[in-house]
Chain length 100, copies 2
Amino acid sequence: AMTELEKSMESLITVFHRYAKEGGNKTTLSKKELKKLMEKELPNFLTTQKNPDTVSSIIKDLDQNKDDELDFEEFVPFVAGLTIACEKHYALHHENKGKK
Amino acid sequence: AMTELEKSMESLITVFHRYAKEGGNKTTLSKKELKKLMEKELPNFLTTQKNPDTVSSIIKDLDQNKDDELDFEEFVPFVAGLTIACEKHYALHHENKGKK
């Protein structure tokens, strides 16, 4: 059976491919596919962003090979960055039990 | 309810903290804690490594602030790298349906 960490890694792969395989290039996320992934999988993320074109700026930041699409290797740092931001929030809550 | 991607991100955080909180510094993984995490959460990873001291070399590679421990931000690239390697394997299997 898979461990919790292995399941977490596999989910990242399967979620990416669920949206990547819809349009033209089957193994990369177009802007449209990334937007759909974020709306479905990170429902609160886009709504909290002031920049209406957050998705384009995300692709611009992460798209190393300049094909206007994100392959898995370009997508992972996005999720990693979000997870690191969430962890800071998590650590803050859990470490502050004693301190005022 | 959390989406699959959100659960995957949360698992990464909770798994890290489950092992980090055991020893001295509660929010970082010592070598011992990282080794235990890998043995429990990535059971096949260490056994397939020729280098008997894989854990030390992993810490050496990832330990930015040179405290011989991995905080969450130093740990994430390790899991990201593994996930990217797994995805290449996944993509190969799924893309090769037609091609010989």
